[in-house]
């Protein structure tokens, strides 16, 4: 009886004692995988930014090295153990300019500036609800939804911030439309696609044009509702996508002539993402239909020189059947190798597909959650491709 009593006392005490200690967390190390190599041209490899689902704080960075074929997953944490809570929440865009890597982390309200070789943090620039980044002439330009700091607390408009890539300070800001998305620069003009996505059905319909010399808005080009993607080709044209209203108005793609700053042509194809390499625009059209509750997906190509829609898909059928949620797209500017990502169900790791210009699948690799944005590392990087 007595021993029994002591047993319970001991048991209780040991439980209490045990509750005091808990093993410490370590930074989750990156993972490496060896894939087939790629011929190094002026392109040495690429960074892939995984968005991570909102509020999960799971934006992550992967790197693929052409020469060794090494795919390194989740490299940011190990390179930056002192960065509290890691890269952040919702990685929305990435770009390389000079020796620096810039990542727009939307829900962390920051532009993360890193060393392009080591991916070590150089600076964090606070920009509330920032969306996309592009570069020109020693400056980085970032579009952002929330102009609280720059435009005053009540403004529904967004803005474009100008950041000096040497001092890494915000040097200027210009008011644009509501919820501005992608940016492109042609010559001395910066173009930004306005969406107005926060106030349906009153979407924005314009591209704002900013003169880079004065950093003032010179005009708005009326295009269509809810603009998103905006890419420039080598012939002075812009390709801009309208997301439609997800109900009656379908998604469409428009071509803008930057000489006249007017709509030149439109394509009746859905466009959720696009990239332009050499003379070809690669378009992912993934449209969700709220009447049929189903997706309609197409993988189209446009010859940007002749501005004609090509007949064939840019993906082999095996790949397009395997992909559940096409998300990111990038094409090597030299080899024309296609990199396309599958975001799956958004809450599990995604997949990256590498397809050479002849349509052969070279490799597939598991990425982080919602692989979205790829930037190529060039030997002498000057531009964000």
């Amino acid at each position: 009886m007595k021993t029994n009593y002591n047993f319970w006392l001991l048991f209780t005490l040991s439980v209490i004692t045990l509750s005091g200690c808990r093993s410490d967390d370590t930074i989750i190390p990156g993972e490496e995988e060896t894939l087939p190599t790629e011929t190094v041209t002026t392109v040495e490899g690429f960074y892939l930014l995984n968005e991570g689902n909102m509020n999960m704080n799971k934006a992550s960075l992967d790197y693929y090295d052409y020469q060794t074929g090494t795919y390194s997953r989740n490299i940011y944490g190990e390179a930056n153990p002192e960065a509290t809570l890691g890269l952040g929440d919702v990685g929305n865009d990435i770009g390389i300019y000079g020796s620096k890597l810039y990542a727009v982390i939307n829900n962390s309200n920051k532009l993360e500036v890193m060393d392009v070789k080591t991916s070590k943090r150089i600076k964090v620039i606070d920009i509330k609800n920032c969306r996309y980044v592009t570069f020109s002439n020693g400056k980085a330009y970032v579009s952002a939804y929330d102009g609280e700091v720059q435009l005053g607390e009540t403004s529904a408009n967004g803005f474009v911030a100008e950041i000096d890539t040497v001092s890494l300070e915000i040097t200027n800001a210009v008011k644009v439309g509501r919820q501005p998305e992608e940016i492109a620069i042609v010559g001395e003009k910066l173009y930004v696609a306005n969406s107005g996505g926060y106030s349906p059905p009153n979407y924005e319909r314009t591209i704002s044009v900013i003169d880079l010399n004065t950093f003032t808005k010179i005009k708005d080009i009326d295009v269509a509702i809810n603009l998103h993607r905006l890419k420039a080709d080598d012939y002075g044209d812009l390709y801009v996508s309208s997301r439609g209203d997800y109900y009656e108005t379908p998604s469409k793609l428009f071509v803008i002539d930057t000489k006249s700053d007017s709509v030149k042509k439109s394509f009746d194809i859905a466009c959720s993402n696009l990239t332009i390499a050499k003379d070809t625009a690669y378009i992912i059209g993934s449209e969700f239909n709220y009447s049929t509750f189903d997706w309609v997906i197409n993988y189209s190509m446009i010859d940007v020189k002749s501005e004609t829609l090509l007949d064939n898909s840019f993906l082999p059928q095996t790949v397009s059947e395997a992909i559940k949620t096409p998300y990111g797209i990038a094409v090597d500017p030299v080899s024309s190798t296609i990199y396309i990502t599958d975001a799956g169900d958004y809450v599990s790791p995604g997949t990256l597909y590498c397809i050479d210009k002849d349509g052969n699948t070279k490799f597939t690799v598991t990425t982080g959650d919602i692989p979205g944005h790829i930037t190529f590392q060039l030997k002498t990087t000057t531009l964000n491709p």
């Binding site: 509750s19 808990r22 930074i27 999960m56």
Partner: protein, 683 residues
């Protein structure tokens, strides 16, 4: 009732012994058993005969219950350092509390991994539902006026209950304090004052008045205010180490209730209750890199009026009628979401009308049948773009049969439902017909009443919520209900007085659950990027064991000890997904609790411990989704005394004694060590 009709085989003394044993079964009582007998006698003294049988029957069901039942009585609740119902139910086995942290943070319960929408919550016998999101925030229900919390896997074993009580996969019953008066006293006031960390101030009172022999009034109100600030820490070995203060977690809430209790001629009773809850709170949001402050706010108002009547009007028959009207208002503002009309400002209005009639008839002294019919209308209005303004008419019926012999009882329920959806605009959800069988049994295999085995099979479903069906850009009106199937096998053992071990109770269950057509959010390539789909499939295998001990120690000291262990393997078996075979998010394989209290004269020390094992924050079981185990220890000291002859109770609580920083839901940090002081006075 039908059990008691057996009369001869169950004399009152047997009932009393059973009632004493049963009080010990799930949770050891603090008082020696002698006192408990007195208490039960007391209750007989002050109630009409009909109610004795009711009380006895209810407790009888706890051991004979073919479905696992867990109960926290008022005495036990006092030992648990719990502020709200949410804090207390963490001590049940098989339960995962999804807690977003702080006084005002959302707290929902997930029983046996079926998902929070599969647990129906009943407040004094009336279901509290939220047709909009299917979630009941248990943090809103303070323990101040709660007499008992009961959790039933499957359903409560009584067949005299509304159909809603039978339709859900699991049911949680919250019972408020019913008026009890001593012979000399006609009214009683209990005043309580709580003060604690996070700027918590909470005064409350409970007033009970005897109006006549048959009529009593009870009024209670509670006010809660807290700034909700607390320190939290995110830290990695050889890496960052950041301590910050939780912001925007403030809450101001008022709950008030008025109820009229009547005893009826036929031995039954009736209750009329009015309830009001009003709150304003900040939403502290997810803590992500570079973002430690959020500005979103929420207002809630919940009003309901509920009438209940239970009585016998002719021989062998019992009637239970429930009527309710409720109105819920919720407003959400996001100053960071700037629209053309200013900051996002969403308002939601929900109405529910609910009526239920249950007829129970005793065919033989060992066989009763019942028919429960429920009708409800739910509406939701919201100032959202492209909002369809849905109305849902639900017709639920349940036919039940309960047979009971000395050593064996068996219950069968046939549930049928028709749900009729209407919308003013856009696409309407499909009307649904559902049909579910339930079978449960309990058996005493040996010649001792101490040991029983039980088993049940239950099919049930949940309707897609209004948000699932109609939320702009997210809702999918083609959704079907989500179905669950449960199999359970278990055993109970109770014993008394083995030397210094005064009482012992053990219960263990193994179960297998399957969820099909699970409603999950899927990508849809638009601004909000999600839509709801009937896609998931989950297999859950689990084991639950709990043991309760009551020890008589030297020097008039008693020690009560409760141990609780849960094992769950909840596997995602959704076809053609990358996460096939992975444990579903936020479901630890191992979890457990320990509760203990030491009583000596007017003093009481309580210690409780909760362990939640490793989990994954998302579907894929990979290192980046790993969430490490957490375990907290809570301590409390209570002193019962008298102040000017009035009973006075002073309690000091220290929660999370070892100051462990942890997240229950990833990026929603929980408070470290915190304190609370409780004072209560009865006059």
């Amino acid at each position: 009732m039908y059990l008691c009709k057996k009369g001869g085989s169950h004399p009152i003394s047997t009932l009393l012994v059973t009632w004493v044993m049963l009080s010990n079964m799930l949770y050891a009582q603090s008082n020696p058993s002698k006192v408990k007998i007195d208490k039960s006698l007391d209750s007989i003294g002050r109630t009409v005969l009909g109610e004795i049988t009711l009380i006895s029957t209810r407790h009888k069901f706890k051991i004979k219950s073919p479905m696992p039942a867990q109960v926290l009585s008022e005495q036990q609740l006092k030992k648990l350092n719990s502020f709200s119902v949410a804090d207390a139910i963490r001590y049940f086995s098989g339960v995962q509390l999804k807690d977003y942290g702080g006084v005002g943070g959302l707290k929902t319960v997930n029983v046996r991994s079926l998902g929070s929408a599969h647990t129906a919550v009943f407040y004094d016998g009336m279901s509290i539902s939220n047709a909009q999101n299917g979630q009941v925030d248990l943090g809103k229900y303070s323990l101040d006026n709660i007499e008992a919390i009961e959790l039933y896997n499957g359903q409560k074993s009584s067949i005299l209950q509304p159909a809603r009580g039978l339709f859900s996969s699991n049911t949680l019953f919250l019972k408020t304090k019913t008026p009890h008066f001593s012979k000399t006293k006609k009214s009683q006031v209990k005043a309580t004052f709580k003060i604690g960390s996070f700027g918590l101030i909470s005064p409350s009172f409970l007033y009970q008045q005897k109006l006549s022999k048959k009529l009593a009034l009870s009024a209670s109100a509670e006010w809660v205010k807290a700034h909700g600030r607390y320190k939290y820490r995110y830290q990695k070995d050889g890496g960052y180490d950041t301590t910050a203060t939780r912001q925007n977690g403030d809450i101001t809430a008022l709950r008030s209730e008025l109820s009229l209790h009547a005893k009826l001629k036929g031995g039954g009773n009736a209750i009329l209750k009015a309830y009001l809850y009003n709150s304003e709170r900040g939403l502290p949001g997810a803590i992500v890199a570079n973002r430690y402050k959020h500005v979103q706010r929420q207002w809630d108002t919940n009003i309901f009026v509920h009438g209940m009547l239970q009585n016998t009007y002719f021989k062998k028959h019992k009637l239970l009628v429930n009527l309710k009207f409720s109105r819920d208002y919720s407003r959400y503002i996001d100053p960071d979401y700037k629209t053309l009309e200013g900051a996002l400002d969403n308002k939601y209005y929900q109405n529910e009308f609910y009526a239920s009639i249950v007829n129970q008839y005793t065919l033989k002294n060992w066989w009763s049948i019942s028919l429960a019919t429920d009708y409800s209308v739910n509406t939701l209005d919201a100032n959202l773009y492209r909002f369809p303004y849905p109305t849902r008419y639900s017709y639920l019926g349940a036919f039940s049969s309960h047979m009971s012999w000395n050593r064996f009882n068996i219950q069968a329920n046939l549930l049928g439902g028709y749900i009729d959806e209407h919308v003013k605009y856009y696409q309407q959800g499909d009307n649904q017909y559902v049909f579910c069988p339930v079978l449960s049994a309990s058996y005493q295999p040996f010649n001792t009443k101490k040991f029983r085995v039980r088993a049940y099979y239950k099919e049930s479903f949940r309707m897609p919520t209004f948000n699932d069906l109609y939320y702009t850009f997210v809702g999918n009106s083609s959704l079907r209900p989500e179905f669950t199937t449960q199999y359970n096998f278990g055993a109970t053992y109770i014993s008394q007085s083995i030397g210094f071990l005064q009482s012992l109770s053990l219960q263990a269950d193994v179960y297998y659950n399957h969820i099909k057509d699970k409603i999950i959010a899927m990508p849809s390539s638009n601004l909000f990027r999600w839509t709801m789909m009937n896609l998931g499939e989950v297999d859950i295998k689990g084991l639950e064991a709990n043991a309760n001990f009551s020890f008589q120690l030297p020097s008039k000291t008693t020690l009560n000890l409760g141990l609780n262990y849960t094992y769950q393997q909840a596997i995602d078996v959704t076809k053609s997904t990358t996460t096939y075979g992975d444990q579903i998010p936020y479901t630890p394989k191992h979890s457990g609790t320990l509760t203990s209290s030491l009583n000596w004269e007017n003093w009481q020390i309580n210690y409780s411990f909760i362990y939640t094992g490793e989990r994954y924050s998302q579907k894929a079981n990979i290192p980046v989704n790993y969430v490490k185990p957490w375990y907290t220890s809570d301590l409390a000291f209570t002193w019962n005394s008298k102040f000017l002859k009035m009973p006075l109770k002073i309690g000091i609580e220290v929660n999370n004694v070892f100051n462990q920083y942890y997240d229950v839901v990833l990026n929603f940090p929980m408070p470290g060590r915190n304190y609370r002081l409780n004072l209560s006075l009865i006059f």
